[in-house]
């Protein structure tokens, strides 16, 4: 293999690995949007909240118990959000709910920092950041572990939604509210369960991203990386989020490796958004999103 090609493959593979983790963050948005039609602006704050809580619990409880405790906190948070934020706003315009999630996001960021402090903290999950060498390719252990964890979670969610009665009920709610009510599924409880699942996703995303970037305020900005993923994949599609995450990850790394040196840098950072803009022009509902045709 020539040097350039090897370099390209290496970038693409590491991009795909990071992409799985983008998919994971985007998945949190997709789950909530599908079930309740809300774009959950607080997803990033939930990720930060989960990571800060974990780091806060760690010294006293150890890794295993801490993760369980954080999961419990996020599930409790989901039910509280349904009761306090969503239920009073039932049947209000989507914009009202969107605004409410903005407020929720700031509240969670503030609450987390009030409890656990504003100092950036490291999160060591016991995986050294030294690369594996596979067939001449350098692959980060952290990327591999992150991709594996995210991949397992995504597969688990797919099985859950396709094969369990609970998953069937949640899919029913996301498909048609009126029909779901008519077979006796209470929307509020379904929303709470969905937010709980999005909370679990936030825990995994918080651990994986926190271990890479450190646990700090900017962790909630990882959610911004999910925006191009959502636009490219279609905000209603789980397979779309997965595929688009991979595309964004690979594109970002390839742009960083090949284009940045030519123009002096910067393309890596905006390449996902550029891709998203191209999609907005030519395929505004994304790869797998529902094409909405309205009579005007």
């Amino acid at each position: 293999m020539s040097g350039d090609l090897l370099f390209g493959v290496e970038l693409a593979v590491s991009g795909l690995l990071v992409g799985v983790m983008y998919s994971l963050v985007a998945l949190g948005f997709v789950l909530i949007f599908k079930s309740s039609g809300i774009f959950n602006f607080a997803q990033g704050a939930m990720t930060l909240f989960a990571a800060l809580a974990l780091v806060g619990f760690l010294p006293r409880l150890g890794m295993g118990v801490s993760i369980l405790a954080v999961l419990a906190v996020m599930v409790a948070l989901a039910f509280a959000v349904e009761r306090v934020v969503l239920r009073p706003l039932v049947a209000r315009p989507p914009l009202a709910l969107f605004m409410a999630t903005i407020g929720l996001g700031f509240f969670l960021e503030g609450l987390a920092q009030a409890i656990w402090g504003t100092q950036p903290k490291g999160l060591d999950i016991g995986i050294p950041d030294t690369p594996y060498v596979v067939g001449g390719l350098l692959l980060s252990r952290l990327d591999l572990a992150g991709a594996a964890a995210a991949g397992v979670l995504v597969l688990g969610l797919i099985v859950f939604f396709q094969k369990t009665t609970l998953g069937l009920g949640l899919r029913a709610v996301s498909d048609d509210h009126e029909a779901a009510l008519s077979v006796g599924i209470p929307l509020g409880r379904a929303w709470a369960v969905t937010w709980a699942i999005a909370g679990v996703v936030a825990v995994v995303a918080g651990v994986l991203w926190g271990s890479r970037l450190g646990v700090q305020f900017s962790l909630s900005l990882v959610a911004l990386k999910a925006l191009p993923v959502l636009i490219i994949g279609g905000i209603e599609s789980i397979p779309g989020a997965i595929l688009a995450g991979l595309i964004v990850g690979a594109a970002e790394r390839l742009a960083g490796g090949f284009i940045d040196p030519l123009v002096g840098g910067g393309v890596k950072d905006f390449s996902p958004y550029l891709l998203a803009m191209i999609f907005l022009i030519f395929r505004p509902y994304g790869l797998f999103g529902r094409e909405i045709i309205e009579r005007v």
Binding site: T164, R171, D176, E178, A179, S182, V183, I185, V193
Partner: protein, 274 residues
């Protein structure tokens, strides 16, 4: 002729009667200044098909919506098997066994026909799908039983060939049939059908009428059937209630209602009745 009593039955039904399964008592619904329903009362008896007919805007769908909890009457009461359900939420009323279909079809369009019917079984799955999901492995035997119920319905409604098709991709007539199947999968105590034949051609209407009759013969779910077209319901209903401008203007056997001057004037205008 006097208004029909509980003992007056149509030609085909066996065992209609007994205590009312569903009672609608003096129901008023107002939308701002519009009086959609003005003191409508009716009883639905076991095993009977009760048709509600009336011109556009008579309040037929509003009546179904107030039974299924979308609107809450004020004043007025909805009583299911002696239990007051007037202020229950739609999900709770469905959970008590009131199944319905919608005028404009509300299917889970992104799910298969089979899945649509399985969701209809949701209430019978332990304490409901939302609670039972995690015990999925343990519930295998129960799962097989639900499958059997659903497969029987698929067979009964002659939709075997489309069982794995996405509901949203089906032609309108078949969507209506799948929606009926989902309501039947609930093994309802009361079945509410909102214009099950609307927008169908003659052949599809006849098919749907046959299914409704067969369902009544087989399971005898007490059924309220809303229909705009008077001709269609005459053959399949035990009793008919006629609404006009939110009021009940007639009630009785199909033959009786057909000859009622008030009904004729509601449908054809004042002069025709004179």
């Amino acid at each position: 002729m006097v208004q029909s009593s509980a003992t007056e039955t149509g030609a085909h039904a066996g065992g209609v009667g007994g205590r009312p399964k569903l009672q609608v008592q003096g129901v008023h619904i107002n939308f701002g200044g519009v009086k959609a329903l003005q003191g409508v009362s009716l009883d639905l008896l076991d095993r009977e098909i009760l048709a509600i007919i009336g011109p556009n805007g008579a309040g037929k769908t509003t009546l179904i919506n107030s039974v299924s909890g979308v609107y809450h009457p004020s004043p007025g009461r909805i009583v299911l098997d002696g239990e007051n359900i007037t202020y229950h939420s739609p999900a709770r009323i469905a959970a008590l066994g009131v199944a319905r279909t919608f005028q404009n079809v509300a299917l889970f369009k992104g799910m298969t026909v089979l899945e649509n019917l399985l969701v209809g079984r949701h209430l019978h799955m332990r304490s409901g799908a939302l609670a039972s999901g995690l015990y999925w492995q343990l519930a295998q035997r129960e799962e097989i039983r639900h499958r059997a119920v659903v497969e029987r319905l698929i067979d009964f409604l002659e939709i075997t060939h489309i069982r794995n098709a996405l509901a949203g991709t089906l032609p309108y007539g078949l969507q209506k049939r799948v929606e009926l199947g989902r309501a039947l999968a609930m093994e309802p105590r009361v079945l509410l059908l909102d214009e099950p034949m609307a927008g169908m051609n003659m052949e599809e209407k006849e098919d749907m009428a046959r299914f409704i009759l067969d369902v009544n013969d087989e399971w005898g779910f007490p059924t309220i059937l809303i229909e705009h077209d008077m001709g269609v319901v005459m053959d399949i209903s035990n009793r008919v209630v006629v609404l006009d401008h939110g009021e009940k203007i007639a009630e009785g056997s199909p033959g009786h209602v057909r000859g009622d001057p008030l009904v004729i004037s509601a449908y054809l205008g004042e002069e025709a009745a004179a």
